[in-house]
Amino acid sequence: MNRLHPLSAVAYAIQYGFLWLWIPIVLVIALGGATGIVSPAWAPFAAPVGFLAGVAYGITYYYRFEYEVTETTVDVASGVFARRSREIPYRRIQNVDVRQGIIQRLLDLAIVSIETAGGGTSEATLNFVSATEAKRLQREIRRRTAAVKDRRRAGNGETTATDTDADQVGSNASDLPPESTDTDGTGPIDPAADRAEPIAPDADADRPDVDATADRTTAADTADSAPPQPDRSHTDPTTDEPAAFDWEETRETRLFDLEPRELLLYSFTSFRPAAVAAVIFVFFLATDTIFELLLTAAQPFGGPQDLETGDTQSYGILTIVSAINGVLITYLVSVAYTFATYYDFQLGRAGDDFVYERGLLQRYSGSIPVEKVQAVTVTDNPVQRLIEYGGLWVETAGYGPDSDSGSQSAVPLATERRVYQFAENLTGVETPAFRSPPTLARRRYLVRFSLVALVVVVIAAAVAQVTPIERWYLAAIVFAAVPPAAHLRYVNLGYYVGDQHLVIRRGFWRRRTTVIPYYRIQTVNTRRSIFQRRLGLASLVVDTASSRSFFWTTPTIYDIDLADARDVHETSRKRLQAALRDRARDEVGMEVDFT
């Protein structure tokens, strides 16, 4: 069993020391107040006792925390008094993530967390190990996960197209058309992927220099930093691959680098709701100072001298200027946050995993097993659409390292053409020819948004009753926004029923184009509200196991003709069964080398 980095003993000791410090203080004060046997004046002497106890606990915690990477599981045993030992089988492991804050980077430490599909938290967190150990663990676990998978495939006597099973593919070649085995051996046996292939060099043409050099440098990097490990899989009778294959598996190929230009565009064109929370938090923390700052900022424009003295006009100016300031600052915080999060973003491939790295202050590295990918989504907002850029998200099931979801940004921002190309290469979906809902749907949105506008006017009228505001009927101007809003909602809806995938597009502010492989479908629902039934429309909700959908809405094809909805419903179900049969025969996965 391995221990954490010795410095984590220090960290735990300090952490628990300061935590436990308060226990005797509170006890002494409480007992002193209640009984009089002890005096509250003893608190300064009691505190060090608590601190020392905490330090002792922290150090014991360090010595009682052990982890090991075994043949079949990752074992973690922890706990000073109540012991907990946990074994995580490789096939359940979703991601292995490495996080490094500023201090950890200075001390060359890292936090490793292991995620599985279940639960809302990490399955195991190693806090801290050395940076090299973190890399080793990440690689080792990835390698063993891949080995377990290969063994399972081999055990089933199935043919695969990965190079670890190259000789098997050879022996079973009669099952497969020869052209379906990719040259690099990682591709799926998927005619759609082959079709997409010829277009791929076109996408690369954007910047051939980067891809080529990145490939070479990464290979060199890995060769430097990672001496070939003693290959323990030899001891396993069921694996018969030579060690060289494992080495191949762990080598990383670069797929995408976020260039400075793209990083800046991404920072400036996206908005993070977290920034609002941060600004509000700071506002509550330092309300007085901020009010003073806002006053000072508004004064050149005719704001009041202070909060007490001012007339209606100067208060109005203060409100408007402060609102502009607030929006501006929130936006800048969001820009800075995005910049720091996605600074030096890199996406690569190692074996059957995507690996990525990002972050300016807190460096983050994680991996996504390709077989765990549920759906792929291209997102863009109106500004990004204007400059023809978009982002690509990969959705996995369960808890993800982005803390709020199981979806990771595979390509934060790139030109639209390239992003769609990535999505097509990654999933093997053919270029979708989107179908729109009937124009009847637009009429629905017209009615719906008119109702919203009506509510706004009614609220304005109600406010006018209790405040001196007159001319509330001017609020009726919101009706002017109704037709464009309805139209924009309508034109951003679309769906495509592919051979292997369903593609669903929806949303204006954050338009999402989701590619769902049929074999990832969990349930299919046709929904008809009372209004939709009157118009003969229906919405089709396609549920997958991706947890991103928990925060975004579940992929839904809105307001299509009932007959079409039933048709897509039936088709999805049939193709799910067909895809499952195909997959039972030969494993068809996602294309890893999608650039």
Binding site: G398, I521, T526, R527, V541, T544, S546, T554, R573
Partner: protein, 155 residues
């Protein structure tokens, strides 16, 4: 072939639930009347009566539309009064199947089958209003079908 309907007694369960809801509203209104502003007693009774009436109508209608069927590849359900929903749960997606019954259900001699999937929304699908025997039978069938169609497909 006609799809399977729920047990007629399920209407009593839904009516009972609606009545409980209406009573809670009545109690809240009575409390408002007592401590905040006066509400005419007739209005309180009227609201409760209308709520119960709507609940009864809803229960009757819901019973009429609620049906389910075991199809070749999936459990198929139709339900909903305001929003009508047709759901297909492929057997291979069934994670586990529960039978459950609450206090009112138990009093009425009914139970529910709950089918769980790994999905994010609608992750559990409930078929209420089954006799305990039918529920157990359905649970067994679904479990067998789920095992039969199982594939090596981790999420």
């Amino acid at each position: 072939m006609r799809m399977e309907s729920l047990h007629p007694r399920i209407r009593l369960l839904w009516i009972a639930q609606a009545a409980i809801g209406a009573l809670v509203v009545g109690i809240v209104l009575a409390a408002v009347d007592r401590w905040l502003t006066s509400i005419p007693t007739v209005a309180v009774f009227g609201i409760v009566a209308v709520a119960i009436g709507l609940g009864v109508a809803y229960a009757v209608r819901l019973y009429q539309v609620w049906q389910f069927e075991l199809q070749g590849d999936a459990l198929y359900l139709e339900r909903g009064v305001v929003t009508f929903i047709e759901t297909a749960v492929p057997f291979v997606r069934v994670q586990h199947v529960d039978t459950q019954f609450g206090p009112i259900e138990r009093a009425l001699g009914l139970s529910s089958v709950v089918v769980y999937t790994a999905g994010s929304r609608n992750a559990d699908v409930r078929i209420p209003g089954l006799t305990p025997d039918r529920a157990r039978e359905l649970q067994d069938t679904l479990r067998e079908l789920a095992v039969e169609s199982e594939v090596e497909d981790a999420v």
